[in-house]
Assembly symmetry: C2
Homo-oligomer: 117 residues x 2
């Protein structure tokens, strides 16, 4: 006896869950930034800026703040001259790793499809 309730609700729940996930990962850049942080467990602001093609510093700043608020990333200010800042994924953020890498795989395949046309 897994579910007594109307099975349609199960589907709706799934769709809502997907929306919940995407609400966190919204915007044009968030997933790319996470991808950057996946590959380098510590990464500085300017490094991410060069990792993610086309992003502006303003957007990067804003998106990183969002990720921090949602506990996906952690910001650490290093006491250097001039100042440097390190970003890392939290354990929670790391839980997205699988999804990110599958998206990367899909994207790679998709690029082949596009080029093939």
């Amino acid at each position: 006896m897994e579910e007594i309730k109307c099975p349609n609700n199960e589907n709706k729940m799934q769709i809502m869950a997907v929306q919940d996930a995407m609400d966190i990962l919204n915007g044009k850049w968030k997933i790319s930034i996470i991808a950057s942080l996946c590959h380098h467990n510590k990464r500085r602001f300017s490094d991410i800026l060069s990792d993610v093609n086309g992003i502006s510093n303003k957007m990067l700043s804003k998106e990183l703040k969002d990720l921090e608020i949602n506990k996906l990333a952690k910001r650490t200010v290093l006491d250097t001259h001039p100042i440097t800042v390190e970003y890392t994924l939290t354990e929670y953020g790391l839980s997205l790793q699988t999804i990110i890498s599958q998206l990367a795989n899909w994207g790679t395949e998709h690029r082949k499809v596009i080029i093939g046309e």
Copy 2:
């Protein structure tokens, strides 16, 4: 010896691949719509409209058109009175199934985290 080429480029490629994927799946609704089509292999316009919480007919129409252009979904007009239209995922669209379901899982977990706070 796994990689002879500059390793930085490998990472950049991965990030670009993720961006490629997200370019297709952009907008607020696309992933939810695909999720809806994942659960019901045939689904009508008005059904999707009620599946995806909060979407307007205008947006649904536009997003479905995008999905069709990108060969992720297929549109079939049925000869009924009044007219009905069926949408299905293409094989290509179905290749996103794993990602969608993982996003749903992550979203479900995330909801627990939010409620827990």
